[in-house]
Symmetry: none
Subunit: 209 residues, 4 copies
DNA sequence: TATGAATGAGATTTCATTCAT
DNA sequence: AATGAATGAAATCTCATTCAT
């Protein structure tokens, strides 16, 4: 009796049917290809044709797994949102100690990892928020959650005129955009340089060093 | 040759002049409408039809004044780039004094003005950089110029591991994104709160207060 | 001042804008072509391409006036439904006299006219009822109205087991199908022969002559 | 040569026979499913996917038994045509007696049975005649045969202007459409009511009662 | 014998741009 | 100077049929 491990993997096609091993591979190939094409061209300029060519597949097959370009994109976003949620969950309490700074640096390192892996999708997503359609909404929620979580973990000293929420957003924002410019080659900096700068600035901004 | 003022609009004269004035008004209306539509939908999702409807004009008229959708966009970008250039030119030397801080705050205020007026175009432009098409290039140049100018004017104290260019970029970036989130209503903050926070953080980051 | 009579004709394109004379002509051409193509091939087999070719137009133009093939079809149905309603309204009271028979014959003549003009659409519509989608519903209403109106106007003598509603439907049905077979050339009969037979049968069935 | 019963299903043997039996069952399931789907959606709108899903089978299996969607349909039609032929053969000579009326009623009862069983296919077939494709032709032949057979068996009294062929067609037509409206629920009537009405009308029309 | 995966031809639909008035 | 109409290239999407297991 053959034991086909792939039969019960759980993922489904666009019409909800179960997939076998080969189907899962094709589906994954399309997701990977979509990620790359979106990163390169953005949501609107990306053509289904680009994606299927990159995945060595066909139009018919694409619509076997995804109802539309936007559906595939939604799924990519969903994955990233999940990863961000995990990251937020793992955010350390940043205190004004050597250990606190080290924890912050480690966390920023993981943020950098995430950005390296999924930066393309994140940038496309940021872009797509402009048109204010479906996908964008989940983005805002994820961002809101990030800010809230950070606010609770980073103890910003009460100083005149510095609203904790606003200051936190400023820091995250700097962090995200920073990686953005690095990823799009608009600024040349090594991972080490980026982390050093971010920790230093955050440290100075928060604790006034 | 009959001088038909209604057809031969290029000639001077009181009637001809009125028509030329009408042309300018139409053109301006299209630019304004384009700015609004691009801000709302982004470069790709914006339809020529949206623009002409917003301008209470027509397709035919649109192509009377602009060679293409991108041409209109380019012109909008051009204006913004000019304004940014002026702003950079007026960047004060930021020193660690009360007067220095006040100058920085004034300058950030003008930046906020610009963003309020042209934020839509700036955001669209940022987006369009992704697809790496014509328009985006001018954007990079403007950004590069901004960074360079700032670097020469902000005296960042030499401290371990803090590359002046990188740190400056981080600050500008924070500044831009900050206004971005405010403009897209993702964070609610008054102009005063934003300025206070930015000055405070920049001050702390640069001078370690 | 030019008096452009066509400007205010009232009909609109698919996005609701007013049309000028030329637009109306194109729209009408598409409707006529659609009517012919549907009659020949049926709703599903008819291609938008067939319609625009028959109308000497283009795909783009088609979608300028109709949101989809089904929208155009709906409009055709709407017209026919209107004509049927008028016909039903004009149905004479059929009594067992020479005058009553003559009135019935006249009315059946008008029915024949309508079928000659719009038989293609009616047949396609009958077909499309199978799939039970949007358009079909209006059809049932029109049919129901026809039956009701006739029932009130044809005085079927109360005889054992002859439900007036059922008998009326049987007669209409015969009438419609009859023209159907004549129109699709499955039976060769002149207009006169058809009318004679229908009047005779109806007469016999209703009054027992 | 190895005799592998599981693969070489064409050979006889207990195992091979079981497999053959399975094949027949699958084929029958597809025919039943096809009949249901065609009845619901019509020939063009019916998807192979709908049929195989209804039959709890697969695309691959479908094409194992039928060369195309149309082939399956043809086979369904063929069965119905056979049944109609039998029915026509059994058509009694209708005379103006109690016995003649009873025979007509019995025959109409069998027609009703047939329509109940195969009405879906008959309606789809009627529809498909519109597009004038292969399958439709057989339909016309069957209809023609039906009319001819009836004409020879029903003695329509010669009265002025009533062509026997035309009158017969009118009656059959009424009969078919009648069941059609009943089957598609457009008119609510019991089997008894339908038969009573049809016999009564036919009787009146033919013999002038 | 059975199946899910894959395909591609062909259908629909969109929209920047040109045309005729 | 202005406009609505028209266009067609290019995009999205569907589905009957074939393929590989």
């Amino acid at each position: 009796m053959v034991h086909d491990v792939a039969v019960d993997a759980g993922l489904a096609g666009s019409d909800g049917r179960r997939l076998r091993a080969r189907g899962h591979r094709t589906r994954a190939r399309l997701l990977t290809a979509g990620s790359a094409v979106f990163a390169e061209k953005g949501l609107h300029a990306a053509r289904v044709d680009d994606i299927v060519r990159a995945a060595h597949s066909s139009h018919g097959t694409f619509y076997l797994y995804f109802g539309s370009k936007e559906h595939l994109f939604d799924e990519l976003i969903g994955d990233v949102v999940g990863e961000i949620a995990t990251l937020v969950n793992d955010m350390p309490t940043v205190s004004d100690t050597v250990r606190g700074r080290a924890a912050l640096r480690d966390w920023l390192d993981r943020f950098a990892d995430l950005y390296e892996r999924s930066g393309g999708v994140i940038r496309t997503w940021t872009e797509s928020e402009l048109s204010g359609e479906g996908a964008g909404r989940r983005g805002d929620d994820a961002l809101g959650g990030l800010v809230t979580a950070l606010m609770h973990r980073v103890r910003i000293p009460k100083r005149s005129g510095l609203d904790p929420a606003v200051a936190t957003l400023a820091l995250i924002t700097m962090c995200e955009r920073f990686h953005y410019y690095a990823a799009t080659q608009q600024v040349r900096a090594t991972r080490e340089e980026i982390l050093d700068t971010l920790v230093e600035i955050a440290d100075a901004a928060i604790f006034g060093h």
